[in-house]
Symmetry: C2
Subunit: 258 residues, 2 copies
């Protein structure tokens, strides 16, 4: 039996919904989890509202094996994620000695004072495990299957390094992309649909692209085959290349996209 492990990502912050900030954490988290055999099935962007965070964390934690949240664990009044996640699990939350020591040591070496705002970042729910932050010290934490991380991308990436070893992954989804310039989606739709029907265990995706080429714009299509069975992916790539050649295209394999 193939073990399937799923995850959801919750991105918390008014700035993402107002269009002020461009999220990049979802992509980073998904690319980090793929080779570990953890598949992101859903993502939600929600505002800094206590009740919304609680309800969303509870729903996602029940529905998926793992949940990753980003945002809302800084020192200011609008950083309310830690308190909301504590409440979602019925845990108390307060400044915790282990987190406080990490911050105190960090600030002591940098001529920054440990004040009330910074102490907020040592508020950790009872029973949670810390997630270390190699960039700016203030830790994230884990309760049950929920990992609470910072929103700043560099900090979030640092925290992921302290998360991988705690995950029990399942079967990895293998993915391979074949690109072809000069071939349009509309021209390969019929043979691609036939292939998808013939191979129900493979997930085929088709994504048009445009890119600059000298003084012109070059169009083309990227065809992706995904499956937990690596042999099926390899066979599918061969079939995709045939579809492209039948259209007079030249298949390119894109190593960055696999």
């Amino acid at each position: 039996m193939v073990r399937i492990v799923t995850a959801a990502v919750i991105m918390i912050g008014d700035e993402l919904l107002s269009g002020r900030t461009q999220d990049s954490n979802l992509k980073t988290i998904a690319q980090f989890l793929n080779p570990l055999g953890v598949e992101v099935r859903e993502a939600r962007v929600i505002p800094d509202i206590h009740e919304t965070i609680i309800a969303t964390v509870r729903t996602m934690a029940e529905r998926y094996n793992y949940v990753f949240t980003t945002g809302g664990i800084g020192p200011t009044h609008d950083d309310i994620t830690a308190d909301a996640v504590a409440e979602a699990f019925g845990r108390k939350i307060d400044v915790r000695a282990d987190a406080r020591k990490i911050l105190a040591d960090w600030y002591a070496g940098r001529a920054q004072e440990m004040n009330e705002g910074r102490l907020r970042m040592a508020r950790i729910p009872d029973g949670a495990e810390l997630i270390l932050n190699p960039v700016s010290a203030a830790p994230g934490f884990r309760i049950a299957n929920v990992f609470v991380m910072a929103g700043v991308p560099a900090v979030m990436r640092g925290m992921l390094e302290d998360i991988g070893h705690r995950l029990e992954g399942g079967a990895v989804v293998h993915s391979h992309t074949v690109r072809a310039a000069g071939v349009r989606e509309g021209d390969i739709a019929a043979p691609l649909a036939e292939l998808a029907k013939a191979r129900p265990d493979v997930n085929f995706g088709s994504y048009p692209f445009m890119r600059p080429r000298g003084s012109k714009v070059e169009f083309g299509v990227s065809l992706v085959a995904r499956s937990r069975d690596e042999d099926l992916v390899a066979a599918s790539v061969t079939a995709l290349e045939e579809i492209i050649r039948a259209q007079g295209g030249e298949p390119e394999v894109d190593p960055d996209k696999d």
Copy 2:
């Protein structure tokens, strides 16, 4: 009584959840809607699964004034959004004459054949209004309060131009950002929290930044005041500048972020 108009964005596509593709549509849509007085309250990224699309569209359409979907309306077998949205509203869907004519005219002028795959893009639910696509012709559509758009960012932006005039906006949320280099979030957390308490009608956000400055990295903080009352925002900006000056910082106003 201040009229509040809300929206949700649903981004549909396995490629967003696998980390293959970086979404930029949420930010574009939010920035387009803000000045029209439509506030994005939630966004969801969901996979290309028929039942998931139906359930998510129904939930969001009930909860918010408007819903915007991106992705899944191209010519290939994995483009299943139109059929799912039709089912969400109990409408039949088939190739529609008006959409078919738009595509036929477009391809006739470009030496591309109208085949079965391309004809898929003329599948429009009964009673839906078309959304014109100035980039690649294949239209989006509107049913009730749901606007169904392409996922390719250039196409999606083109479709937005045919949507604004159909929206009835409410009171605009005004927003103003004050930046200060050399000031850290942890240093202004306490006075900012006091200000937020004193002005409950204003939403204050605090976002740390790092940016290259010569051979060093400069850190700082962006403070944002948001409110439907423009005078309250203006007064808040003055208060934010005072908080920054009290820390020895020099407030900069960032015109790109307002």
